[in-house]
């Protein structure tokens, strides 16, 4: 399989290619159908609306107090022996992590799943400095072996089927070709155990950072997160600044919402709560724990009352699983770290609208994403807002605002507006269009790729009503 590069500015082409690939369509269709019904079942015993309300409320409270909570998190982490670092952007965060590795003369880094590290392209940065970075989540491991990027934030290898994975495991790790999932899993276990033992540094993400106690919470099923944060002598946790919550009690509802929304699980195998390095007398755990807090555009989103809701996200992926667009085009088509609806409202802030201007239009605004969001982010409203920003009709406070502004389109709408507000012109114009309907072009740009071109009616609605009135008047006269 060749290395593919996907970029957000090629969304339309990538989406077309994915739509023509029956393998990708089948993989996503099957997976997403399963996830939707599992999610529904897992909430069966719950008062879901009350729980979502609480989840949204916890995230809003955390955001309302964000600067104070970050300081409190920092102070409590430091009191626990965790060293806290701040980074303005991904580049700075990469540099920080590389320097921490170099200070330990680290040659090999083992990674737990972390979307923010994908966002800042940490692996490439470390590799360039001669430090190997290996993903240990099975899905991430497979994707990395295949020189790809994740196509889903929870299930990174969802675009690959068993046959493809059998090929990857055989070609890249040298095991005998097998389609048996248990055999492949056992092989990966052995391969990665060697790497856990040899790793100098473990890098993980964070699901919730608790300000009150200086605790980093990680949610996982495999145990690779626990390995990553326990076996190597150094653990570096990296997270976006919005992941902080105020109280320890805030994590229970968010954890309930996260696992059920993501995969329909009532709970994950492990909930790992880290409040410091190995303490005196303890026999395992890292000697050093670092927390890297990354802004990378988030404080910009924070400025705006409407856009702020984007930061509530707990990265469950339910919006993707339920999106009729994502389900069909798959994760890679978006060409971004975060695909699907959440990606379409987040990536424009991280990368600017210049390259991501098409993403907010990758939605039919059916509303499914907003309906399933466990923290009630009004995703459709945010998609509309970003569409406005993209054409320069918003507040202009999003990077690259106006990138999609087109003079031709603007002139067309202006003309339409002018016609529609001048009744005389409107009537004669529409009557004319009806008479000349035979001349309507059959190709009208992308509109007619999948539709037949609209043809004006012979008689306008106004005309039809006028005729009916005349007919009725005549009938009354006859009577």
């Amino acid at each position: 399989m060749s290395v593919q590069t996907f970029t957000p500015d090629a969304f339309h082409r990538q989406a077309h290619e994915a739509l023509e690939n029956p393998q990708i369509r089948a993989n996503f269709r099957q997976a997403m159908d399963g996830l939707m019904s599992k999610r529904r079942d897992s909430f069966a015993d719950w008062d879901l609306e009350t729980l979502r309300e609480l989840g949204a409320n916890i995230r809003l409270r955390a955001l309302a107090r964000l600067p104070d909570l970050l300081e409190r998190l920092e102070a409590n982490c430091q009191a626990n022996g965790i060293r806290v670092h701040w980074a303005e952007d991904g580049e700075q965060a990469c540099r920080l992590i590389r320097e921490l590795c170099e200070a330990r003369e680290a040659r090999s880094v083992i990674k737990g799943k972390s979307m923010v590290s994908e966002e800042m392209h940490l692996n490439a940065h470390l590799e360039a400095a001669g430090i190997s970075a290996l993903e240990s989540d099975l899905g991430e491991y497979l994707v990395q072996l295949n020189e790809q990027t994740p196509s889903h934030i929870i299930m990174p290898a969802i675009h690959l089927n068993t046959d493809e994975i059998a090929g990857i495991m055989h070609d890249k790790t040298g095991i005998a070709r097998t389609r048996d999932v248990d055999t492949m899993t056992a092989a990966a276990r052995l391969q990665l155990r060697e790497r856990f033992m040899a790793a100098d540094v473990g890098v993980s993400g964070v699901n919730f950072a608790v300000a009150e106690t200086g605790t980093l919470c990680l949610v996982e099923n495999e145990g690779n997160g626990r390995m990553t944060t326990t076996v190597p002598p150094v653990h570096i946790a990296v997270t976006g600044i919005e992941k902080v919550v105020e109280h320890l009690r805030d994590v229970a509802p968010l954890y309930s919402l996260l696992t059920r929304s993501a995969t329909g699980q009532h709970v994950t195998t492990y909930f790992n709560m880290i409040s410091g390095p190995r303490r005196a007398g303890e026999h395992d755990g890292p000697e050093e724990v670092h927390l890297v807090l990354v802004d990378n555009g988030r404080s910009g989103i924070y400025q705006d009352d409407q856009l702020l809701d984007t930061l509530r996200c707990i990265r469950c992926g339910a919006c993707m699983n339920h999106c009729p667009v994502y389900t069909r085009v798959g994760g890679h088509s978006y060409g971004t770290t975060y695909p699907g609806p959440i990606g379409s409202i987040l990536m424009p802030h991280l990368e600017g609208l210049e390259s991501t201007k098409d993403l907010p239009t990758a939605s039919s605004l059916c509303g499914a994403c907003g309906e399933v969001c466990p923290v009630k982010i009004p995703i459709p409203d945010l998609l509309v807002r970003l569409r406005r920003e993209a054409v320069g009709e918003g507040r202009g406070n999003v990077r690259g605002a106006g990138a999609k502004r087109s003079r031709k389109e603007l002139a067309a709408w202006k003309g339409w507006q002018w016609l529609a507000t001048h009744p005389g012109l409107w009537r004669s114009g529409t009557a004319m269009a009806g008479r000349l309907r035979g001349l309507t072009p059959t190709h009208l740009g992308p509109w007619t790729d999948y539709r037949t071109a609209p043809k004006p009616a012979k008689t306008t609605l106004h005309g039809l009503l006028k005729q009916r009135r005349a007919r009725r008047a005549a009938e009354e006269q006859d009577a």
Partner: protein
Amino acid sequence: MSARDAILKRLRERADGPLEAPESDFTVMTGRGWTAQERLERFERWITSVHGEVIHTSRDGWTESLAGVLRDKGVRRLALGREHPVAAAAREALAGGDIELVAVDRDIESWQRELFESVDAGLTSTGGGIAETGSLWLWPTPDEPRLLSLVPPIHIAVLDAEALEDTLHDVMAGHDWVAGMPANALLVSGPSKTADIEQTLAYGVHGPRELVVLVRHA
């Protein structure tokens, strides 16, 4: 200006002005009102649904159940603590038998490969259990370190039936976790698993393939 100060400044000088923090109502997370029997049934139903095994035993005779589990699973080397009453009782009961008892009160650096490659099972105590999700909660100690419940292919956990509570919220509040968290606190709900290969469930990807819970009844 440092990155820290610049970020905090931007957050504090928010363009659309300060935000109001709502109060939260946690009623939905507590007050299940289950009886001890209901708690036990729920716990067992959930943890077995994710491939955990539950063995009911008594406070007095549990080490015999442990010996039975070890025999059935062919465990030859068992890692366990020394001081916790669970570990102490297990050591006493298994002393002089065929099963080698592996000490864990030594720095991991000195025996990492041994732990990873030649220990068949790890025995741990638990702080308690959560009925709503079928979870165990563990606070690893120098006596029972973090990796004991993670690295060996089988994890055997001892849970007292009366240490089952309704929800995670109840456990955190009831045991005042806020007052002092350990370096590592864990919820364990079943053996390690993955569904990353075409959504096919496989157990034991990185952590234990099997989780056996010995539930001790008074």
